[in-house]
Amino acid sequence: MTTTAPRTTFEVGGLGHSVKRREDDRFIQGAGNYLDDIVLPGMLHMAIVRSPIAHGRIISIDTSAAMAVEGVVAVVTGEALAAHNLAWMPTLSGDTQAVLATDKVRYQGQEVAAVIATDPYIARDAAVLVEVDYEDLPAITSPQQALEEGAVLIRDEKEGQTDNLVYEWETGNKDSTDRAFAEADIVVSLETHYPRSHPSPLETCGAVADVNPADGQATIYLTSQAPHAHRTLFAIVAGLPEEKIRIISPDIGGGFGNKVPIYPGYVVATAASLLIGKPVKWIETRSENLISTGFARDYHMKGEMALTKDGKITGMRASILSDQGAFFADAQPTKFRAGLFHICTGSYDIGTAHVSARGAFTNKAPGGVAYRCSFRVTEASYLVERLADDAAWKLGMDPAEFRRKNFIDKDQFPYHSPTGFVYDSGDYHAAMDEAMSLSSYSEWRQKQAAGPTADGKLIGIGLASFTEVVGAGNSREWDIAGLKMIDSAELRVHPTGKAILKLGVKSQGQGHETTFAQIVAEELGIPFDHIKVMEGDTDNTPYGLGTYASRSTPVGGAATAMVSRNLRDKARKLAAHLLEASEDDLEWEPGKFTVRGTDASVTIQEIAFAAYTNFPEGMQAGLEGVHYYDPPNMTYPFGTYVVVVEVDPADGTWKVVEMTAVDDCGVRINPMIVDGQITGGLTEGFAKANMQWITFDDNGNCIGSNFLDYLVPTAYETPKFRLGATVTPSPHHPLGAKGVGESATVGSPAAYVNAVLDALRHGGHDIENIDMPVLPHRVWGALNGIEALP
């Protein structure tokens, strides 16, 4: 690991120090303030009535029995919302979504009505009494079925929509790619489904809407990863003046992309508060969270690699059929219909590539959120890393050697990819070397060559050498719903040398209150624990697009560095005034200016005091500033993961024996927090490879609607991880940092699946694919030639 010694002391806590997290003090004492902890005087409670069927026409809604329950204040239907023009709302991908259904229901769990009552138990009691009559319509449960001739039209209300196609999109060079395939010695091809998954943060989504009937001021507490963007969208959806909307995103119990979209519950709670004149709280149950809010993935993928016989990749093709659910609500940049899937050439120097994508409406919940992922880079990384292992197997090459042979070399950066990305920096060979060494890769290959273990288990070794693309965006290419993907930081240094930093991003557990204070500590020398970090209150923080797609450090972190540097420039002027020296004669070290060649110095704290008590004539008082950062490029974290598994051919179960992860996320601000992000991400990757799965029966009933059916790993199932690092700074980020929250979720699923397939292949079974989750019965079926097991 190449790294430099920290420039600050541990007490100051700048870059490179694993200082302990400041937010922990309240969390370990049960004193966090999560959404459900918010109680306002006179607050009412809302429960949502949801569709039990996947597709059907609403014939009637009878609310009388519900209204008759003591304690029920109102029952809201789509018709009532339509009177205020609120029955439909825009999605983040330019579609419209029903807030409460008025015409049809289009997925199981869709919002149909809402009961507002004095008590949450009463609201639920009454919700059961709302009688809705439906006329059943055929349910479409796959995108293939959706695009068949004569398939029932799901979006019959949408003007101009004559089929179930959502979009068609392509990029890359088709002609040169076709030529590469025509000239290839060998073509490797893979069809696989990246199944529907759900981020399921441990805290579900919710809102407390408080509209003051006297002045129309709306304070909306929201489980929001993007409070500022949500305020603007609320203004657009509800037609409220934006200055009258204050979004407060309190402590968030995990997000992982699930808390990026705007959900019907948020809108109904706000409308109800507006109409009733009292605060209204809405909290999802876990089932509601799983069946109705932002799902992820659900990509049916076909990938092909053109190869020379000595193992060089000469071209790549990928085509995608995406299951979008009933509304196109992907949380992703406007310009890219398939997110950033087109980064699917990964870490390899492939001369030409072509990517085509189609999306289809189905009778499933909408979402398409980037679940611990930067806009579909997870699907892309999975496809190319699965193909890399397949190609190596077909060629009879070691998969590590195959990857080395095709890696983009460190001298090729900035690297222009065939689908239009400009990779900022990388040293893929170095990360591979580190992973090989830490994982004892060659020893494991020797053990594998010796045959099954004493108890008959097949040893498999799986690799993935991922490249991520994070830190959206730059304003030229990146916007969500028209909002450019910048972010911001406002820093105010108080007279006593303490400070408050206000951000446009919003932590959901990533440790911003510590990491971002460390950035200021690095730049100004103010100890990190003298800096309060404030986020998630739109009245009191500068505008930003929020925290997802690993963009907080690349964009918000850069804004923090820049605003700190701007204050340092002013501090230099103040120091010159205090020291009666020329600015040019001052030398900076974190925390103080010294007159070159003398002992005369002044600390940042003394300077801060002078900014309010003793500033030169003609200079504005104060030491404050705000910076909006528009990144010149994305950042490209990368790494190599090595997984060793044992597969039991008797029953198809598999166990991770070792998992080694070498990550390069550029400069690490707080290595402890970075490692925590990585172990969390490796677990999510394991979850998807091993168990996590939202599926549906033929009638569109969601299987996976609670934590008994939707399995997420506990400590007991989770593998033990060994972490390593290389450091290749981002050349364009002020700190050289790249962002790390998602790398491990992006990179690791392929490594786990490759390991299982490697075990089977080396055990004499030439199996091409097992879809995730790699469930025991699927492995057993593959080993025994039984296909089409669910």
Binding site: R21, P201, G254, L708, A715, F721
Partner: protein
């Protein structure tokens, strides 16, 4: 009905419907919000409290069942102004991220090390298998519980 529990050593009485879940009683009737709700199906353990010395999921028992019993929540971990070793260890070893599962994790850990401060990694992982964390990958939670166990042992030695 009137329900009385000894919560963190103090007797508290409140009026609640007989069907009130213990977690709602603690959060709403007693106004102590450190105990969280994550799943409603006894799967995630965010609502874990210690009932008469044993960790239980407070979303799946009625407050009435706790009537006359002793309940310990995260708010009762700190004693005489000092953090419980499990609290200190969770911070020291970065055993939490979003903090939502943390009260439940710490209470399970505290109960475990009271019984067995020498629990091995595998034993700790098994004891934690009723609690879900979506952020950390568990590694640091296990480390924190081991460290707290060592601390408890050293203090009592």
């Amino acid at each position: 009905m009137q329900i009385t529990v000894t919560i963190n050593g103090t007797n508290r009485t409140a009026d609640a419907e007989p069907r009130t879940l213990l977690v709602d009683f603690i959060r709403t009737n007693l106004g102590m919000t450190g105990t969280h709700i994550g799943c409603d199906t006894t799967s995630c353990g965010a609502c874990t409290v210690i009932l008469d010395g044993k960790p239980v999921k407070s979303c799946t028992i009625l407050a009435a069942q706790a009537n006359g019993h002793e309940v310990r929540t995260v708010e009762g971990l700190k004693q005489n102004g000092s953090l419980h070793p499990i609290q200190a260890a969770f911070k020291e070893h970065h055993g939490l991220q979003c903090g939502f599962c943390t009260p439940g994790m710490m209470l399970v850990g505290a109960a475990l090390i009271e019984d067995n401060p020498d629990a091995t990694e595998d034993e700790i992982r098994w004891e934690l298998s009723g609690n879900i964390c979506r952020c950390t990958g568990y590694k640091n939670i296990v480390t924190a519980i081991q460290a707290a166990g060592a601390q408890v042992k050293e203090t009592s030695a």
